[in-house]
Amino acid sequence: MTAVAVPATRARARVVRPVLVRLGTSVLVLWGAVTVAFAGLHLTPGNVVDLLIGSSTVTPEVRARIITDYGLDRPLPAQYAAYLGRVLHGDLGQSYQLHQSVASAIGEQVGSSVQLMLASFVLAVVVSVTVAVLTAGRRWARAVFSGIELVGISIPSFWAGILLLTVFSFGLGIFPATGGDGPESLVLPSVAMAIPVVATLSQVLREGLELTLEEPFVLTARSRGMSDLGVRLRHALRHALLPTVTLAGWMVSFLFGGAVIIESVFSRQGIGRLTLAAVGNKDLPVVMGVVLIASLLYVVINILLDLLYLAIDPRLRGA
């Protein structure tokens, strides 16, 4: 029993330690993100009180009361400390503009964005793996797809979205143009969002596959009579996946940014549009809430990726 248990513990320690280190650095990342957002927004021109009051004409007394209500009269370090303290208690504050708490504002929008991001992520992975496996090392297919990928990277998401809408919604009437109800409304926006990701991902994957296909063990596998597709799927893909997985972290932040455009084009609810509005309105609590959520997401994804590395590459687990 012990003979088995010790290596198991060791193996677990090898997994747990980097994760703990990750968590530590993650907290730093989150703290940094909030701080930078706070500083950046306070450095941009525009007076928060004026934004709160809006176009109404108020007496100096009312103005003073708003300043006190929102704590805007306190020194910046005090506002910052208070904010950090509240964040630690899970309180993201009250939006200046939306007449609700930041948590509920984000909560209302986050589901729709997560759906969109998940759908385009899955779509991107499935399509790019398929394309890369089928085209790696094959001259003509490779040339054709590289060309398509170049176009995919170059076209703006906005334009791709409009094009998809024109053909599949306005023209053929297959999918609804707008909204966030049901799977059919998810198709076009996730395709539009996945296009640049697929284009990048399949190139990286194909390159990895092509390098691996040159390896001696591939020749060995082939000499044992394994089919070409079998070699690609069973042996080469696993090798080629590692650099791709690293890219996945980038993909998530890319999708987060892309949501701003895609959600606007397709009139979907979501964090992207919430952020856009909050930045324009200088709605500090909402912007910082989004920054926090985005950093948290980024950190979580990276921890998951570290674990995924271990699953993909046994050498990282080995003694």
Binding site: S55, A177, F266, A277
Partner: protein, 549 residues
């Protein structure tokens, strides 16, 4: 972007703001001839380009779209027709005291709010008090009844409203959605809750407003108090009404042409012809009252402090031709500060100022800008004639950015170096109250000649403490006198006379460069009928119905 339009300040000045909505006058129908007459049932889907994301409650929000979204659910005490006449609605009659400081309303019997509360004098008092309550932080409505002293409940069906001084625009303000009567029970909620949902006695009941998505309504069963002049009486024809928010022009248009929605707001001017040519669609327009889309020169500092330079800019650029070419005739060139559909519009201004580059050159010479530098710009004492234009590109609807660039190119021909400054809303908001600009642009809708007071009265000059619309920063004792004189009288002819004087003076002073008259461009499918207009040129849905498949 938010066009989105979530910045109430930016929004207000960009003309997205307007006093919206009054009586549903069903006479003008937006969509063609009815084949078989109205049928009951069905859902009408309408797509708009902006939303009141920060707050739905029109007592609080200044956004026109807050008025548009809540008008179906809120009735007003009185209604206003296209000719500027006031009609009974929730109030059956009213009297004004001889000193014009007290309005006494007799209220309709048997009206119920959709939450079951009865409508009475207490409800009216609760609404007016709510609007002026500092806690409401009303960004528009409170300002429109600024001399309000208080309301007095005489009996259940009689209420008196007292003012500190005579206040003639009261009834027309009262007719707007910003004075829509909400259930006093729902007014007891916190302000934030009202921003999500308002409860009134209107023909529709709000189901839910979801930010970035839209708003849905259902028919208010038993509704029987439509304003005089509506197309029908009793309940709505529609079972349901859905207003979607589609900010992208091309997507909104595509949703209409592909039949995914029954109607849209703001057909892009460039597409008007294409939509008109489509036999399945119609475009109807309605001229908006209030301030035109104008450019306002800063009359207190910079080159435009000299009246001759202002006149040179106005007369040396062919605004009318640029507008006609850019908008394909969808918007007509403006002749004065306010639109022809505004009560008190002075028709004599038309043709008074004409395009005359030679005269402009003479004026600039006289003003001392007689030199020319290597690039062809005029100079004075070695200084170039530079105009700093506080322009908000991100809010530039209707290709106003393209228009601005064309004006810039034309201005260069007569020697003006026009430069766009202040890229973001926040930068703009820093400069505007301080008068740190030579030129700004906006439109501003309101169905009363009193809009001139918002645009040119000394008290409306923006400062750090007070946000105003007098962007020309004009301070003219005569103008102030005429404007306050118009407040003191309910004699329409006298008011029109005073407002004409104001329009002539600001034109003589070149305190405004009129650009175009805003037309609401409503696109609809042939199956949608009876979409009406309220006098401030926003669509209403009380008389609307859809052909059943």
């Amino acid at each position: 972007m938010s066009t989105n339009t979530r910045l109430s300040i930016g929004v207000s000045l960009l003309g997205v703001l307007a006093l919206a909505a009054c009586g549903t006058t069903g006479r003008d129908t937006a969509a063609g001839k009815a084949p078989a007459g109205p049928v009951k049932g069905g859902t009408l889907t309408f797509a708009v380009n902006t939303e009141p994301s920060t707050c739905l409650d029109p007592h609080q929000s200044p956004a026109d779209v807050a008025g548009l979204f809540t008008r179906p659910a809120l009735d007003s005490l009185v209604s206003l027709d296209a000719e500027g006449r006031i009609h009974p609605w929730l109030a059956t009659k009213w009297t004004v005291s001889p000193d014009q400081k007290t309005y006494t309303f007799t209220l309709r019997d048997g009206v119920k709010f959709s939450d079951g509360t009865a409508f009475d004098a207490e409800a009216v008092k609760a609404n007016l008090d709510h609007i002026v309550n500092p806690a409401t932080k009303s960004q528009l409505a409170a300002g429109y009844i600024e001399p309000y002293k208080g309301s007095e409940v005489v009996d259940a069906h009689t209420v008196q409203v007292h003012f500190g001084r005579p206040y003639s625009p009261f009834l027309s303000a009262l007719a707007t959605a910003y004075f829509g009567i909400e259930s006093p029970e729902s007014l007891k909620q916190p302000q934030d809750a009202l921003c999500k949902k308002v409860v009134g006695s209107g023909p529709f009941v709000i189901d839910e407003y979801v930010v970035q998505k839209g708003i849905t309504y259902h028919r208010n069963p038993g509704y029987d108090w439509a304003p005089e002049g509506a197309g029908h009486t009793g309940e709505t024809y529609l079972d349901k009404l859905e207003i979607k928010v589609i900010t992208e022009d091309s997507v909104r248009l595509g949703a209409l042409t592909s039949g995914q929605v029954d109607g849209i707001a703001s057909v892009p001017p460039v597409n008007v012809k294409q939509v008109r040519a489509d036999s399945r669609l119609t475009v109807t327009t309605r001229q908006a009252p209030g301030g035109n889309y104008n450019y306002y020169p800063n009359t207190t500092s910079g080159p435009f402090a000299d009246k001759r330079v202002r006149q040179a800019f106005r007369d040396g650029i062919d605004f009318a031709t640029i507008v006609r070419n850019l908008y394909f005739g969808a918007f007509q060139p403006a002749a004065g500060p306010i639109s022809p559909s505004t009560d008190g519009y002075d028709k004599t201004l038309e043709g008074k100022t004409t395009y005359d580059p030679a005269a402009a050159a003479r004026l600039l010479d006289e003003a001392g800008w007689s030199g020319k530098d290597a690039e062809g710009y005029r100079t004075k004492d070695g200084k170039r004639l530079t105009i700093r234009w506080a322009f908000l590109k991100s809010f530039a609807r209707e290709q106003r950015d393209t228009l601005a660039e064309q004006i810039q190119a034309e201005a260069k021909k007569i020697g003006f170096d026009v430069q766009f400054v202040s890229g973001t809303v926040n930068e703009w908001l820093e400069k505007y109250p301080k008068g740190d600009y030579d030129l700004v642009d906006f439109s501003w809708q309101r169905a009363d000649g009193d809009s001139l007071r918002n645009l040119f009265d000394t008290s409306a000059i923006p400062t750090a403490a007070k946000f105003g619309q007098n962007a020309a920063r004009l301070s003219d004792k005569d103008v102030d006198g005429w404007l306050s004189g118009a407040l003191d009288t309910t004699d329409q002819a006298r008011r029109a006379e005073l407002y004409a004087k104001v329009q002539q003076r600001v034109t003589d002073e070149a305190a405004v460069f009129p650009v175009y008259v805003f037309n609401y461009l409503l696109g609809a499918g042939k199956k949608a009928h009876g979409i009406g207009w309220e006098p401030q040129a926003y669509p209403t849905f009380y008389d609307a119905w859809v052909e059943q498949a």
